[in-house]
Symmetry: C2
Subunit: 226 residues, 2 copies
DNA sequence: TAAAAAACTTAGTCTTGCTTAAAAATAGTT
DNA sequence: AACTATTTTTAAGCAAGACTAAGTTTTTTA
C-alpha cells in the first residue's frame, strides 16, 4: 500500500517481470535481464512475495500480483513517457533516450508525470512504438505482428521496434527502419535466415533475430470487399 | 577522478558543505541540515576525506577541496537548472520546484544538463534568484544585500529569496515578494523586529528572520554623478 | 527410472549509509 | 587551572541489495 516503501530496485524487478511476459518468469531469465546473480533474484523475489507484489513459489518461477502489476505499469509509464518527452521536447534521438529514462523513471513525481503527459497530449505510444500504460492501468493495444511472420512481397508499415540497444537503434534509424516507415518484405531466407527489406531509400538485409523485434501492420487490405 | 563512484548521498554532503559557507563547517551543522545523526556525518566525512574531496581534521570541521568543490557546483548547477526548467518549460510555481529538483539533480546526465541549459538560453539565475554555477565552475555574482541591511524609505528591487520551504515561498509569491518585484522598505522595527514593506499592491509586515533571506538592490542611485 | 545436468535456493560476506550508546576531545566557567 | 558542559568521534549493529560457494530440487537423458 505505501508506495514510498518500494525501492528503485524493486521497481526494476517488477517492471522486468512484466516485460518478460504475462506467464510465469524463471529466476535465471530475470537474472540475465537484470544483470544480477540468480541468488540475488531469489532474495528479491522472497521480499516481493512478502510484500504481496508477486506470486512466487520456490523453484517454480514468479508472476505479478495485481498490486505488483500496477507498480510495474506505473514504472513503465514513467519510462515511456520520459522517452517520448526527451524525443519530442528535448530533441533526443530515439537511440539516446533509453539510458536516461532508465534512471529518471524512478525519481519523477506523479505531478511531473502528469505535466509531461499533458504537454505531450496524452500519448499512447512512445518513439519505439511501445504502448504507454495509462494512469488507470490500461495498456493501449499493439496490433502489429513481427516482420518474420509476414509474407514476401507484402507492403507493410512499421509499428514498433522492440530493441533497446542504442547502437542497433541508431543503425535502424539510419536505414529508415522506424515506426511509421513503409517497407516491402522482399525475401525471407529459409532456416531462419536473414530477411531482405526494401525501404523508401534502399534495400537492406536484416538478421532473423533482429527482424523478429520489428513489428509491422499490413498497409492496406486490398483483396477483400470495399 | 571517477565520477561514477560518487553517490547521491556524497553529492548531498558536498553540496551542503558548499552552501553552508566557504569557511569550515561543523559536524553538527551538517547533521542538522541533512537530517542525519552527527555520527553519520563523521563517517561520511572520513570517506570524503579519503577520496580527497574535503579537507577534514578530526574535531575541527570540514571544508571542500578543489575536486569536492567542483562536484558541489555541478550538483548545484543541476539543481538550479532543473528548478529553472520546471518553472519555464513545465509551468511549475516556484514553491513546487525544490523537492522535484532535489531528487532529479542526482540522476540527470551531462547531456540532459546541456540540453536544458541550451533550451533555457544558458541562464545565470534560477527562479529564486540563486546563481546557477556554470559548466566551467564559475559562479555568477550576486550583487544584492539582505533587506534587513537597507535603510527605511528606500525603493528596492528584489534580486533573490534564499528560502526553500514551499509554504513560505507560496506566501511570499502571493504578496509579490519575488525576484524582480519593486518594493519600498517603510519601517524597520527595533531589536530585530518585523519590517514593514510596501509592494505594488499592499503593505506587508515581515519577520526579521524572513526579511534577512530576501536580497535586494537599490533601484537606482540618484545622489551621485551620472 | 536412475544417474547426470541444469536450475534454483540457502548460507555466509561485503558495501553503503544509516542508527544508538559510550568514550574522547574541545570549549566554557569559575 | 580544574571541572563541567558541549561537541565530536568510536564502536557495534541494522537493512538493503548485491556477491560467491555450497547444497537442494527439478529436469533431462541415457
Amino acid at each position: 500500500m505505501d508506495k514510498r516503501s518500494i525501492s528503485s530496485s524493486m521497481e526494476d524487478y517488477l517492471k522486468t517481470i512484466f516485460e518478460l511476459g504475462e506467464t510465469s518468469v524463471k529466476t535465471q531469465t530475470l537474472a540475465e535481464e537484470l544483470s544480477v546473480s540468480s541468488a540475488s533474484v531469489t532474495g528479491m523475489l522472497k521480499k516481493l512475495s512478502d510484500l504481496k507484489l508477486v506470486h512466487y513459489e520456490r523453484y517454480h518461477g514468479v508472476s505479478l500480483s495485481k498490486a505488483g502489476r500496477l507498480i510495474a505499469l506505473e514504472t513503465l509509464r514513467h519510462h515511456r513517457l520520459i522517452e517520448t518527452y526527451l524525443t519530442e521536447a528535448l530533441g533526443y534521438s530515439w537511440h539516446e533516450v533509453h539510458d536516461e529514462a532508465e534512471k529518471l523513471e524512478h525519481h519523477i513525481s506523479e505531478d511531473f508525470e502528469d505535466r509531461i503527459a499533458e504537454l505531450l497530449g496524452h500519448p499512447t505510444y512512445d518513439p519505439h512504438g511501445d504502448p504507454i500504460p495509462q494512469r488507470d492501468g490500461s495498456v493501449p493495444v499493439s496490433l502489429g505482428k513481427p516482420l518474420t511472420e509476414q509474407h514476401e512481397q507484402e507492403t507493410l508499415v512499421i509499428t514498433r521496434v522492440k530493441e533497446q540497444k542504442g547502437d542497433v537503434l541508431k543503425y535502424l534509424a539510419e536505414h529508415q527502419l522506424i515506426p511509421g516507415s513503409e517497407i516491402t518484405l522482399i525475401q525471407k531466407a529459409p532456416f531462419n535466415g536473414p530477411l531482405t527489406i526494401k525501404t523508401s531509400r534502399q534495400t537492406v538485409a536484416l538478421a532473423f533475430e533482429l527482424a523478429k523485434l520489428i513489428e509491422v501492420e499490413r498497409l492496406a487490405v486490398l483483396d477483400s470487399s470495399s
